[in-house]
Symmetry: C2
Subunit: 191 residues, 2 copies
DNA sequence: CTTTATCGAGGCACTGTGTCTCGTTAATAG
DNA sequence: CTATTAACGAGACACAGTGCCTCGATAAAG
């Protein structure tokens, strides 16, 4: 174990049990009450943890949920083995991604992103830990269906942009059917 | 003039001067400090207005900015006369829209949308007064470049989605160059 | 001139945040 | 075993922003 700042192995070690309790309580409260309604007090109370422990290790709600989302992603990492059909691989990836985003998890992601709007440092973490990894997963799938003259970054913006737009604006569901429509549009763009 | 609730024309009329001062002060503070940092106290002080006046007519920050954005949109309505070239019309519309979104106005729009996330009623207003009108403007432009088998709503989601994704995530600028790329992608999708 | 509803100004309770201090507890160092 | 160290749960505190209330003043209609 290590001290919070000096990484010397002395003193009482950080409680892994408390950490798990906090992440689990935070996700549970977000699912039940919605991200915006959850406070640090709520999380501390639900996790059976002192408030100071939250400020010591995270500091704010968005950082807690960012870590919780990271663990969720690590659990369901579902290695996408390439089949013989690049178009089917793309579609399957989008169906899985959009399907997950359509649950409360997507609402939490939106909440974290939203909190990052007014705080550049947090925004940078969100970008690095939440957004860029997904872009990195999508790019190779697009490489296998798009001709070289189509810009990859633009295609990624169009695909994930459509997803985010619906997550924010809620004019239509984010689900597998939408994922298939978007996949078809990409293939149409491929010509 | 009319009473706030009963619309009987009696009593002191609402001050149009105060209303303009509030909207102007709100936009100015957002431009200077960023949407999230602005408070109702700040707006009241900058507008030289009592706080109760804000609660009487608007109730919260997002509603003030929503009205201010509405007036901005009404001023710069720039009737888009159709030229002979549908592709050029689409591109011009996107260049103007993305260009505006790239300024602090886009950040205000994001802030209002963000506040609407945790408040269904406000979210509905944002959708109706801010999002749907833009979709309505884009649709006929797409009609003139897309073949009938391409779904319009999906195309709108892809175009504005890409814009919103960049506004939120800030991994790349929202500007005229991006607008032209998106327009080209739509034309490519048209085949 | 009376009635009415707005005006700017300010007070107050409430909530969530962030910092601080307790006494306690679980590790390592000697 | 004992001392040291740092995290633990719990709670107090100041601070900021919100939302509601009241006040005397003001500008319109009847």
């Amino acid at each position: 174990m290590s001290c919070k700042v000096c990484s010397v192995t002395r003193g009482r070690p950080r409680s892994e049990e408390s950490r798990r309790a906090v992440l689990s309580a935070a996700l549970g409260l977000c699912e039940r009450d919605g991200y915006q309604a959850v406070t640090l007090k709520d999380i501390a109370a639900a996790a059976g943890v002192g408030r100071q422990t939250l400020y010591r290790w995270w500091g704010e709600k968005a950082e807690i949920l960012l870590e919780a989302l990271g663990e969720l992603a690590a659990e369901g990492l579902a290695a996408p083995e390439p089949s013989g059909d690049p178009a089917a691989d793309l579609e399957e990836f989008l169906v899985r991604t959009f399907g997950s985003a359509g649950t409360y998890v997507g609402a939490v992601v939106v909440g974290v992103m939203v909190d990052g709007q007014g705080r550049p440092e947090l925004g940078e973490r969100v970008r690095r830990e939440l957004i860029q990894p997904r872009r990195g997963e999508l790019r190779p799938l697009l490489d296998r269906v798009l001709p070289p003259e189509v810009d990859r970054e633009l295609a990624v913006d169009l695909v994930f942009g459509a997803m985010w737009y619906r997550l924010l604006n809620r004019h239509a569901p984010v689900d597998g059917a939408f994922a298939r429509e978007v996949a078809a549009a990409v293939l149409r763009m491929a010509g």
